[in-house]
Symmetry: C2
């Protein structure tokens, strides 16, 4: 991932720092879990001064939120298949793949952690979610422009994303392709 | 709460210890959050030997799960209103009240924390959820016995509980009485 980012933006020191920091956070989350490392730990691992991390991200919460957003956008970008049903099914499948993967509940874990960390935490959480929601809304707007009748973004959260997350969080039931398509069809 | 429990089971040392331990956990969760205290901390606060906590609960995860289950059963017992719609609406309202309360996301926080703590954590989580699910199933079975056609317990999780939890976790939308009733009606 880091190498790809370097290749894409050759020579950009800023991009290199970002890639190194993201890599460091990913490793620290895997090794220690959210909430168990500091900006100083990230800086040391990434080989940069912690002052430059504070300058760029402001605080740990904003930095974590930035890393997770970049990962989500890379791993489950909003699809554009040409039909609403196709988009929603593809999206549901990507989310299911992500939440059942090795660091699957990262978004829920981070949202839980940030929710308990005062105003900076809540702001970072909201920035992360607002960005994803804008993308989802754009997908739904494209459907409306094609003459389809899309649901609200909030309905997609309530009846597609929420069941997927809860099933994984509570180990409550399988996420088969049929089940996932059924969530979309039911919507 | 502690006083009530004492009054109900006068002279029971075991019940007194349990009440003191539950109170200590509730305080420590409020002050430090899940994951930031040990069995030793609980024992010290409750004024009992930590060996007796290990003897009774086995490990920290099982103890936390026991405390949260007792709280859930007290604060949102499964209702028995005489109709499925009444039961589900009452239950949804109780869950919404709970998750928007002072320690609202306790169940999600604990499920997240336990999920990351190996086999003992997963066992504790599953025991907690299995108990609540049994109660929910009993509520649905009563409806069937009355000749109603209840949904699966998993559908209640997917389309009533999951949206409530996600809206609170992501601060995504309000939990009005109309919205909550709508979730039940839609089911």
């Amino acid at each position: 991932m880091e190498e790809q980012e370097r290749a894409r933006r050759p020579g950009g020191r800023s991009a290199r720092v970002r890639a190194a920091v993201h890599q460091a956070v990913t490793e620290l989350v895997g090794e220690r879990g959210y909430g168990n490392f500091t900006i100083g730990d990230i800086a040391a691992r990434a080989g940069v001064a912690d002052t430059s991390l504070y300058r760029r991200w402001g605080n740990l919460q904003a930095l974590l939120s930035d890393v997770l957003l970049a990962r989500l956008n890379k791993q489950s970008p909003m699809p554009d298949t040409g039909s609403l049903a196709g988009d929603l099914r593809t999206y549901a499948a990507a989310v299911a793949r992500e939440v059942t993967g090795p660091d699957g509940l990262a978004l829920v874990r981070l949202a839980v952690a940030l929710s308990g960390e005062g105003r900076q935490g809540l702001q970072a959480r909201d920035a992360l979610l607002a960005d994803r929601r804008r993308q989802l809304q754009a997908m739904l707007d494209r459907a409306r422009d094609r003459g389809e009748e899309p649901p609200d973004a909030l309905e997609v959260l309530d009846h597609v994303l929420a069941p997927i997350y809860m099933r994984v969080l509570f180990d409550a039931g399988p996420l088969t392709p049929e089940y996932l398509d059924g969530l979309v069809d039911r919507l």
